[in-house]
Symmetry: C3
Subunit: 402 residues, 3 copies
């Protein structure tokens, strides 16, 4: 980018002169081959791994998802407490609709006809008493059912506990029914409808694929091998695909993850963008390192009796909550990640030169010879100016030290 | 990076010598101009596209969002079954509060006073029968309302179906009310309050902008042109903005996506970070390639009659679920993506040199001449050592082959 | 990459010749040192900032999360309207289970024994009237409780409002109870169980760490200093950690964000991947720039009286919704971001040369001398061919203009 002093001439030389680095071409079979091999390795890495395998030429976007679910199935139970009872969707799906998760009750502890009043608290080490001295009026513990009154009353024949003001009778959740009360829930079916959208590429798709017919959907059940795109899952299959046992899980409940992964290459046709279902147990089975194992919560049905008095049925519902977790990335060709990777690749080619230079200039027998050929030593101006000067010397100088 | 043998001298020359590539300056207008044009194109790509358009100098972060919703509106219905009835928020929003989605019931099939007992199953091809031989005791199908007893009983005057133990009478969901029962839901309003956070930049903002006054909020309705930042949406407007018909959608229900996109450039003032609302129908209208079209679910209200016997009202609720989908990215200047893009851009400049080299050295008339100027051929040391040697020859050699 | 004309010879020279740029080595202490300093700065940036600080050698993935929550606690209230009442989990958590958020009612306006019928609307500027002329039959406003009949009736002794067909008596939500009705909710505890998954690295972890024992979990409470990994939070602590006052927030309700951030370096042991809890108030406290401040929603409990007539208790529930927001990124070594950053770093080294070149060739005293050493001027072939030719001139030429 040199030129005579004037700006116009400077611009002229800038535009109309082509500057290219001067290259020293060393005829050495060993070094030449090594140089080409290193360059080939870098090229293989850039083309093979970065572009073909990892799709480094693509821009990515995360999925935005919407899920609707529906459970179907009925079961009958027969216990001394409740008698013969039918349970359908409105009875065991709580709450009746949700967004990305659905709870199916599989077991329960039911306390009927609770009314607000005074009764004996449930026995545990903080509530058992011998006399009123063991009870404190107004005391509420973390696990209390009510507020203590200060009196000590009979809970059962042989046990006395502190009296509380609570919904009476208090719940007895010591023994969870085993086997699970609604053990037939294993045969219920879960329909999952999922709509995904990649905003950056304005691409939408549903998990009920366009080529699936209505008649197929009416009767199919998901199977990873035979029916991988049927959106209807038998609850037992979901649990067993995660390596769990449904009946075991149904006793104390749990959380199952139904993972739908959408990893799409949008440079291909849209029909290649397909959902992949996997299943995973999310709660911790190991009850030694967790608190409140399984999955349960309490809810109540409220009634007014003839006198207008409030009463309720408290239900501690154990069950399996199915979390539909949708995730994934779409990739599509974009010039910027392509150029970044090409640019970085080009820069990496320089490594081949650095490597071979080190070998040629420091480790080969002829290193001093090669150094002489590669480097043009330029002494400090003053030194040259002061040395013996004459056209003859200059020619000699200019010619020898290159 | 050469120097005499000793390490101190090596370090001295490493620190105090400056190495720069030797450049061959070819005065050729054609090649010079082409070189500058290619370099200009690369510069335009890097500065124009990468930095200005795609903001390649920015680090990005995804949004973390929280949404609250509230619906307002009442409507009156008058049917022979239910009589004159008012429906307000507590009646049609189920469940009463949710996180990112809200369901508004627009249509329903109500089955009142169900009690557990024996009755005829709803007629379909698996339940119609002529005699008990067609019914199997204990059989439960996917769409059953209850468990079959094995008997065949009269459902209606001319129809007989298998008897089941179920909540009786069973639901008749063959005919969905048309027009929709709560068709006035079109006039209900939905308030959406959204708080977003970009953790990486610790930036928060709400969709109710700081400059909006309380009095404006009390009466405004969202309109993409006149009131683009009013957070109150009329349900009909939401549906119509997605190109759908509310009354048509209200019959079998559906899922509407209310998308709030927050794409913010945090290098500008916070006031430029604004939400953008778009609307999209999420469920599949095409009933030929879907199962369970529209959106519905069943729930029940439980009662105890005077005798303490359980009864319930089963409601198959059809309606529109509004999913509030919040997404977006924020960008802010960061040195690393900037340097990556500058580095890749610098590496790409090398492409201009490679291109012009190829043209100059292989395609121009004077290619051999230019090659001679560009390359300094270095023979194998042995060959040079063995050739005729003398200061004169050396000078000649050194001077000629450059 | 030159060679004789024939392709085989071309391939031979391509493979077995090593080309390296010719370097001009300028012995200048000033420029040499400056060059090394700029290169050192670039190296420090690449190694220090890009690799060590920002972990530029890592690939990242976003978290996929599942949350379960459980609240514990009871409280007693005593008002003239409701008398002495106990409130437990089934009474104040609405709905009883959710996914990522849980609502705890802290205050309420209760309207008991509502039945459908005709009564006076709640007074506000659109409903007050003097005579039937002020009321329009069939009119429904955004905040109406029912549909106007057109008559003007007495609401209270001194006030007359339009008559409506609604659930009567209409709700009076003018005065929110202060202090909050369930102010003791401050002592309730919230257990959060969170399971996270990084799909790209197939790494899962729970917030209840493997080394935490069951006995510790039974009694611990979260504290950012003493118990940073206890998953049980006292509601008051959550609110106060965000700099808010629980009792103040409990009156009109609000939304609290319980943020769990999982930023993990998966090149280290899994035990270093720990959750970090932060708390933030999400709703806008400033009631001048918001509509419907706080957080509330209406729900109803439905009853049938002896005659089979529907009645309901309407509850406008104010409370705190706790949104569990899980986010974070995991990083793990990956060859591609490493190579991209190395490549860009290498390209940036070229900046040192460009900078020093500019100084050496344009700003130093000896710039013309150095330009002579750096550049090899190549005239247009024709000019050279036409100039005086002779071996003597050529030698002179060849030797002088280098």
């Amino acid at each position: 980018m040199a030129g005579p002093g004037k700006p116009c001439a400077g611009l002229y030389s800038f535009l109309f002169e082509y500057d290219t680095p001067r290259i020293v071409l060393i005829k050495s079979r060993k070094v030449g081959l090594m140089n080409r091999l290193v360059q080939l390795a870098i090229l293989a890495y850039v083309i093979g791994w970065v572009f073909v395998w990892e799709k480094g030429y693509q821009e990515t976007d995360s999925v935005v998802s919407s899920v609707t679910t529906k459970v179907k199935g009925v079961t009958v139970t027969n216990t001394s407490e409740l008698g013969l009872r039918i349970w359908d969707v409105a009875d065991y799906v709580i709450p009746p609709q949700g967004e990305n998760s659905i709870f199916v009750m599989t077991n329960m502890i039911i306390t009927q006809n609770q009314t607000q009043g005074l009764c004996a608290e449930f026995p545990d080490k903080t509530t058992r008493c011998h006399s009123s001295e063991n009870c404190t009026e107004g005391y509420v513990g973390t696990h209390s059912n009510g507020v203590q009154t200060g009196k000590c009353v009979t809970y059962r024949e042989t046990e006395k506990t502190c009296e509380v003001f609570a919904w009476c009778p208090v719940e007895d959740d010591e023994h969870v029914p085993k086997p699970a009360f609604l053990h037939n829930a294993a045969n219920f079916t879960l329909l999952v409808k999922n709509n995904i959208w990649y905003p950056k590429f304005n691409f939408t798709k549903r998990n009920i694929l366009p080529n699936i017919s209505k008649s197929y959907l009416k009767n199919c059940k998901y199977n990873s091998k035979t029916d991988p795109f049927c959106p209807i899952f038998r609850l037992r299959d979901v649990v067993e695909s995660a390596g769990q046992n449904f009946q075991e899980m149904a006793v104390e409940g749990g959380v199952m993850g139904l993972q739908i992964s959408w990893n799409c290459n949008l440079d291909k046709a849209a029909s290649y963008c397909l959902p992949k279902y996997t299943f995973r147990r999310i709660d911790n089975k190991d009850s030694d390192h967790t608190v409140s194992p399984g999955y349960n919560f309490r809810f109540a049905k409220y009634y007014k009796n003839a006198g207008g008095r409030d009463s309720r049925t408290l239900i501690k519902a154990y069950g399996i909550r199915f979390d539909i977790m949708v995730f994934g990335k779409a990739g599509k060709f974009d010039i910027i990640p392509t150029m970044i990777n090409i640019g970085s690749g080009l820069a990496l080619f320089g490594v081949a030169t650095v490597l071979c230079d080190i070998i040629v200039l420091y480790f080969m027998k002829k290193k001093y010879y090669y150094r002489e050929k590669k480097y043009k030593y330029v002494e400090d101006y003053d030194l040259e100016a002061n040395s013996s000067y004459g056209s003859q010397a200059e020619t000699q100088e200019g010619c020898r030290i290159r």
